[in-house]
Symmetry: C2
Subunit: 365 residues, 2 copies
Amino acid sequence: MAKRIIGTTPKQDGYRMPAEYEPQEKIWMIWPERPDNWRDGGKPAQKAFAQVAQAINKFTEMSVLVSKDQYRNCRAQLPAKITVIEASNNDAWVRDCGPSFVVNDSGAIRACDWKFNAWGGLVDGLYFPWDQDDVIAQKICEIEQIDSYRTDDFVLEGGSFHVDGQGTVLTTEMCLLSEGRNPDLSKAEIETKLCDYLNCQKVLWLQDGIDPEETNGHVDDVACFVRPGEVACIYTEDQTSPFYEAAQDAYQRLSEMTDAKGRKLRVHKLCCPIENVTIRGDFAIDTVEGTLPREDGDVCIASYMNFLITNNGVIVPQYGDVNDALAIKQIQTMFPDKEIIGVDTVEVVYGGGNIHCITQQQPKR
Amino acid sequence: MAKRIIGTTPKQDGYRMPAEYEPQEKIWMIWPERPDNWRDGGKPAQKAFAQVAQAINKFTEMSVLVSKDQYRNCRAQLPAKITVIEASNNDAWVRDCGPSFVVNDSGAIRACDWKFNAWGGLVDGLYFPWDQDDVIAQKICEIEQIDSYRTDDFVLEGGSFHVDGQGTVLTTEMCLLSEGRNPDLSKAEIETKLCDYLNCQKVLWLQDGIDPEETNGHVDDVACFVRPGEVACIYTEDQTSPFYEAAQDAYQRLSEMTDAKGRKLRVHKLCCPIENVTIRGDFAIDTVEGTLPREDGDVCIASYMNFLITNNGVIVPQYGDVNDALAIKQIQTMFPDKEIIGVDTVEVVYGGGNIHCITQQQPKR
């Protein structure tokens, strides 16, 4: 039994969202398939997703959701120790349509089920419809028998914020103040929502993300908490990089910020790829009205920041770039006690996201 | 994680199928919808299924599987304390396509995932295709993280047999020796399969069931175990009843049988409805080639035997028949310590089955 909690918030009920570096019970993913987003019928992406799942599974249990049509194939592509469960979906971004779990001091777990509108709804959303994605969180909660808070009056995606588990939220104005999400809420009202549902006291605002045309600047391509009081931020001095301005601005802002506990943040630099990853004209991608087209030469949002912290491991995107090894080294320095595993996720980035975007952690109870 | 167990059987591994009257953890159902079987777009059947689910839920936890298309409606029709999980299906007969669970003496649980072919495959199956039904057992096992034995070389449905939990299987020749299931297996080979997978020592064979055109005579409309050494059997002296001959024959055979422990069976009589339940010509049922048509005047298989025993309750079909109350009274006598709840399931019987056919128990671990 998994019920909807009506009339209260996690903060009122004593639940908080733990940080990604706190102990996890399992990681959720959704199997990719839509041929208007993933090239060649999704086959290269499926291979990459399977590799990501297996890398995570070295540290943490994995459950993969999949549509009816791909159920048998997904089950065959993944090892038996990875759980596969049917769930219809519009695409594979469980970070954004999935639940954000919250826990209390007694070890109980609940979830926030954010209203989802495909990163901007009819204003600048990336596909239509998004009806199946918007019940993914509920379906996960029913499978796990976890009660949930549904925010019918608040659109949010899990990739648009990070928490430190100690009262601080990190997000971007570009995304949370975007016209396609909560145009009737003021910045102060949005802060209140974040603090009520994540049980935080302070919101740290960056200005821009690096993918204005896609998620409207999710923070998970730009920065994250490494541990309480410490963040990582993408950094480049290459003024020709498409991410230069946003990265510089984020780094400057973070360097001057204090968290909810009053700690001045320590900021770790994380390099960017030297070469752009771009969409190639010979990719076979279906043309569907209402879906953001992927066209020859489009620059993909290839950030090393889109890694997943999972128990004793960190799973890091690799692009076949000169800086791949440097990224791994920098992340190892941030997490000296964790094993850093790089996975070639060029095929994931072609679809518009990366490891963090396609995963969602469920904390230990 | 839920793996396939290869190369052994439950008997070899020390697992046995518990009887329905042993303690249960939950009951599974599948939400009905196909408009070529259920009249009026499945709406009357859905109402009846919801009532059955709620009656069961008085005693036992309930999980209901539902297709993507009916997910939101099913979730809205059922109370929050009943779990709803997406699973594609070809129809709603989870007794037959679902897993038969087995347990060991340490309280561990596994499952038999029988090959399913819609009650006769291309010989005399009831619809085509049955591909989604045939992965329902696997999907349930993944959701529950239960390892399973798949019988790719043995077609069986859960409604075609009963066990007493102490080494005895009860079934019918009409069904298990039918041409559409395992035509290449001898009766002795089928006995071996049943005994290996259910961990039994003796198979009790009735000759006929009462629905030769549908399930080819599932035993669960004719007889069941009430407790070790005792069975119930449908009984009528009305020679005009369509079930007269099969009922009389089953009663005579059971009265002369001994179980695996050598006990002579005590046979409880269970009445039949006085009036036939029939399909009416004004039912709005889609016409689909390959699906058994339901035509004006067809006699439905309305048996009181198709009840479900579930922890402290027994959920019994009611038809608005003169004998409804007698059936309840007789079943109360069989189960003096359980609460007997009647549910009007005329709409379920219109679709070709009843409470036992649409439920599957998962034993306590």
